[in-house]
């Protein structure tokens, strides 16, 4: 692990910032459930108490898909803090999710 990885929870964001996350799903599929579970686990570990997760079911609100350019299901979108980040898949690889959310810098 690099030096950057050691202080990764802080990275460039102040601790008090609230993270707004959106998880796009299409119905209660196995992949959706798995992704949600993985997300909760990661957030609880790394962003305890300062995150909100909004789950959007595109089967119910299909018009929301184009706004965030959603293509794949499931997709996690980090609305806040900016910039917007997208992670697709079941979020099974925690390391990659952390990198994707800027909670951890890219492995050198």
């Amino acid at each position: 692990m690099s030096a950057a990885a050691a202080n990764d929870p802080g990275l460039s964001f102040p601790d008090e910032a609230t993270w707004t996350l959106r998880l796009y799903v299409a119905g209660q599929t196995a992949k959706s459930i798995e992704a949600f579970a993985n997300l909760r686990r990661i957030c609880d570990q790394h962003l305890a108490g300062r995150y909100t997760i909004e789950v959007i079911d595109l089967l119910e609100r299909p018009q929301l898909a184009s706004g965030d350019q959603i293509l794949a299901i499931p997709t996690l979108v980090r609305r806040l803090p900016p910039p917007i980040k997208k992670i697709i898949g079941t979020l099974s690889n925690t390391e990659r999710v952390l990198v994707g959310l800027d909670l951890k810098s890219q492995p050198q």
Binding site: Y24, A26, T29, K31, E34, A35, N38, L58, L59, P62, Q63, A65, S66, Q69, I70, L71, A72, I73, P74, T75, I84, K85, K86, I87, I88, G89, T90, L91, S92, N93, R96, V97, V99, G100
Partner: protein, 584 residues
């Protein structure tokens, strides 16, 4: 479901089709794309895939009352709208009128982190949402392959694409999917043709001698017969149009009406009345032999006759032509003013061959001429290879004939190239072929006009000398002498010589006449003198007996006097005789 369309007249419709509304494409596909199935349109960059797809949707919405969905993976919507606005397609209006739904799917790999399993259900959701929002019957996905650039898991992508095509079929929408042309041997870079088995259309964009020609080919079309050729197509101000005119049927009407060539003596050479209406006329000749002048004559006469003429000038600007023709006494400006004559001037190399054909088609459709002049067709050779030009001219001639338009073509023959070669094999298409040839003799160049052929016309076999005067073209009889055909000053000299001979002969006759007259006068005088002598003689003859009688009487008297003086016997007959005898 719409009834099967029957646009292609000769191809039986075997499955329901969605007409594309693209000129020519419906004819070669026998009615359009397969209805309710996906069609793959592949081609290289800039080959017109997106335009074809857009036109499919717009025409569907405007002409066939079928709403459409455009899902773009490459261009933002306002860019797309701008691109086709120049073609007169108002996409925002169609969207507002619920005839079209558009969705831009942006896939940027750098913004997307992938972890774990996923599918493209959101794409399906978006597509379904768009389809449902307008009740779409047509869907365009342009270009699906962008997904491969944005997502790294090709395995998932391929599975999802297969599912997508199945899904589109289930929805019963007629879909057009565009794909980037792949390397050698493959139609698309990502092998999309594996998934689309119903109809695959390949667009090609080839450059030959710096002139590009677009071509379209139907690679496959399951369940229907279709044209297999490469069809040239065009993208111009009215969008995309395919020119499927290689299957020529020879069933033109053959009018018997005639149209004057504008040159009186040429009409006479062509059996008295000129060309056939709706026929094609070719004038070949070397540079400066007067081809354009003949064309101008023809156009001028036709315009006066009330025909509408379209003049394609490939070498001169209209103004230049007008000026040059005025110098030989042909004023075409008046006809232009009356809008019975229109010039279309363009450098042949400006656009590709197909564009020329399209220009001709469009101009003919717009202007509705009865006479079309192409001057000269040989300059098209600078645009394409000989065989292509020949094919183009074939189609041009055919098109004009099918419209009953009289075509007048001029062709420049190269010096040193045989006549047959230089007319690029199109002479056989022509009904009338006139040849203007340089006749060189005695250090002088003159022009001779030959009628090489004139189908259906009893034409003259004689060569005429072709003279450009300030009142137009004149055809003169050539002098045929032992030395050959005489033209120009040689002919003039010969004519002068002949005039001198005639004069001399005339002079001679006069002289002889005078001589004879003189002789006659002399004879007449002599005859008059003789006559006078004769009369004198006659007079003498007549007077001779009378004189004799008078003398007798006188002598008698004398004798009487003597007798009386001699106191002779009584006068009597006997007495009278004896003295007489005495005297002797």
């Amino acid at each position: 479901m719409a009834p099967p369309t029957t646009i292609g007249p000769t191809i039986a419709v075997t499955l329901p089709k969605s007409p594309t509304g693209i000129q020519g494409l419906d004819e070669i596909t026998g009615g359009g794309f397969p209805q309710g199935r996906p069609t793959l349109v592949c081609g290289g960059a800039g080959s017109g895939k997106t335009l074809l797809a857009t036109q499919f949707l717009v025409r569907g919405a405007l002409d066939f009352d079928e709403a459409g969905v455009f899902m773009s993976f490459e261009e933002p919507l306002h860019d797309l709208a701008q691109n086709v606005a120049s073609l007169g397609y108002d996409l925002p209006a169609l969207i507002a009128g619920k005839k079209l739904a558009m969705d831009y799917v942006r896939v940027e790999r750098s913004e997307i982190e992938e972890t774990g399993d996923y599918d493209l259900e959101a794409l399906f959701v978006r597509l379904a949402y768009a389809i449902d929002s307008v009740g779409a019957k047509r869907v365009v996905l342009d270009t699906l392959e962008s997904l491969f650039g944005g997502l790294s898991n090709a395995g998932i992508l391929r599975a999802e694409l297969r599912r997508l095509f199945g899904w589109l079929k289930d929805r019963g929408v007629t879909a057009v999917i565009t794909g980037e042309r792949g390397g050698a041997g493959s139609l698309t870079r990502q092998g999309l043709d594996e998934y689309v088995s119903d109809c695959v259309i390949l667009l090609d964009h080839r450059v030959h001698d710096q002139v590009s020609t677009r071509r379209l080919r139907i690679v496959k079309y399951r369940g229907t017969s279709h044209g297999t050729n490469e069809y040239p197509f065009l993208i111009d101000a009215s969008g995309l149009s395919v020119l499927p005119v290689t299957s020529l049927s020879l069933d033109h009407a053959a009018p018997t009406e005639r149209i004057s060539s504008g040159i009186g003596r040429l009409d006479t050479m062509l059996g008295g009345k000129g060309y056939y209406l709706g026929s094609s006329v070719l004038v070949t000749g070397a540079a400066g032999t007067g081809k354009s002048s003949m064309a101008a004559h023809f156009v001028d006469a036709a315009c006066r006759h009330g025909e509408r003429c379209l003049f394609f000038a490939f070498e001169e600007s209209p103004r230049q032509l007008l000026r040059n023709m005025r110098s030989i006494g042909i004023d075409l400006a008046a006809s232009v003013g009356r809008d019975v004559l229109r010039f279309e001037a363009a450098r042949p190399t400006l656009v590709g061959l197909e564009q020329h054909l399209s220009t001709l088609h469009r101009a003919v459709r717009e202007f509705k001429p009865t006479v079309v002049v192409l001057d000269p067709i040989t300059s098209l050779l600078s645009v394409g290879a000989g065989s292509e030009v020949e094919a183009l001219l074939l189609r041009m001639v055919d098109f004009l004939k099918s419209q009953g338009i009289t075509g007048f073509f001029t062709s420049l023959t190269q010096s040193g190239v045989s006549l047959e070669q230089s007319v690029v094999g199109i002479s056989s298409l022509m009904d009338t072929w006139l040849l203007l040839r340089d006749l060189e003799a005695n250090g002088e160049r003159t022009r001779g006009l030959y009628v090489i052929k004139a189908r259906g016309l009893a034409h003259s076999n004689q060569i005429r000398e072709f003279v450009l005067t300030d009142h137009g073209v004149d055809l003169l009889d050539v002098s045929v002498s032992a030395a050959g055909v005489l033209t120009g000053t040689a002919r003039a000299a010969r004519e002068a010589h002949e005039r001198a001979a005639v004069f001399a002969r005339q002079h001679d006759v006069d002289r002889q006449q005078r001589e004879l007259m003189r002789k006659r006068t002399v004879l007449a005088a002599r005859m008059a003198a003789l006559q006078a002598d004769l009369e004198i003689m006659d007079e003498e003859l007549r007077r001779l007996p009378e004189q004799e009688r008078q003398r007798e009487a006188l002598l008698e008297d004398e004798r009487d006097v003597i007798a009386r003086s001699r106191l002779a016997d009584a006068p009597g007959n006997g007495a009278g005789e004896s003295p007489r005898g005495d005297r002797r």
